[in-house]
Amino acid sequence: MMKWNNTIIYIFRFIIFVLIQGLVLNHMNISGYLNPLLYVMFILLLPFNLAKQWVLILAFVTGYAVDLFSGTPGMHAAALVLIAFLRPFLIDALTRQDDLEAGASPTIQDMGFRWVFTYSAILVVVHHTVFFFIESFRISEFFQTITRSLLSSLMTIVLIMLIQFLFFSGSGSKRKFT
């Protein structure tokens, strides 16, 4: 029963992240350089005990769904699958195996602020850099693209930490969304 509840929460989260990305963030324009891609957080938030093969498949589906809304076929999917591939290695590098409790998720509540920040920051920067380079696909725009990826990453990381604090920090609505 518990397991099904979790699945429904993740499906719900998937829809929310894709819609927020497709309908709000894609149309937000602060400057040409700020272009947050918050949907990465869906993959970042998947529980540790989910098989990594599933994470790959979910990453492809999520990326593809965002692609549908952005008119950028395959680009989000390519960048997000790479993140799903790197994720288990990064988790191994950042954590000792016995620190991972059964059923833990990468949230502030379970892992603490420092861990979540490092983990999110590394993956977001890699994802944004890869994505913006695939999108521009020109070496002549190198510096423009790199500035774009770094500034957008910064904004995405701020948004991710904000959401972590609001919903996943354990205070207040305890365990409601995790």
Partner: protein, 278 residues
Amino acid sequence: MRNLILFLWRNNFFFLFLLLEVLAVYIIVQENYYHKNVFIHSSSQITGKIYEITDDITGYFKLKKTNTELAEENARLRNHSDYAFMKTPLKTIRHKDTLYHKYMEFIPARVISSSVSRRNNNWMINKGKNQGIEKNTGVISSNGVIGIIVEVSANYSLVQSVLHKQTTLSAMLKKNKQKGFVTWPGVNYRKGELNDIPSHVNVQEGDTIVTSGNSLLFPENILIGTVLDVVLEQGKSFYNIDIKFSEDYNNSEYVYVVTNLMKGEQQDLLERRDDEVE
């Protein structure tokens, strides 16, 4: 064989990753090379619907500005219509007008999904094949050039906007008809570049840039923007010109799809020449 399968199985995580990555790259490449928006095609009915609903809501916030713009355009059109001209019939001449062929047709449409923040911005409009829209036709608005239709489904079309790496507009300076082309270098959606204007031409800040009519997509003299900044690097024979787009792409809403009725004939002519050269 058994060893191969074992090897694949042991590294299934890596190979699954590879498979999905190759699939994604395949989709990207196919899109870029053949311009076939296969998957937007099949999904545009769903995403198109969602976009239409959200746009119905957000559209209300822009109503006032849109109304003013439409009123202005109406006024402009009225100025061109028959009753704006005084008739002084000294002599009546009847003739069948065969000098003027109608060669451009305009279909009004509404932008239901747009973006300006990406390097390549594709927009969606709410008219499609059923409303007579064809692939490879131009899209303009009352303020300027919007883009080119690259894909049509039954009721929606996809516009490759001016804010796209692959969009090149054939343009000219209005005052002296010097031709060049306009591209978008990215980042700032208000600014573009005008290239290929030779250095002997007199270009001033504030000069108007319009479409040249050389391409088969746009009629002549559609506004594109104005010159912001002119730079001539030493030893170069062409100017680097920054322009300001006349259209504010962040709030484009009502647009016109331009169909060139003579396009078939023009293309035919070009192809015939190509055949002869071969």
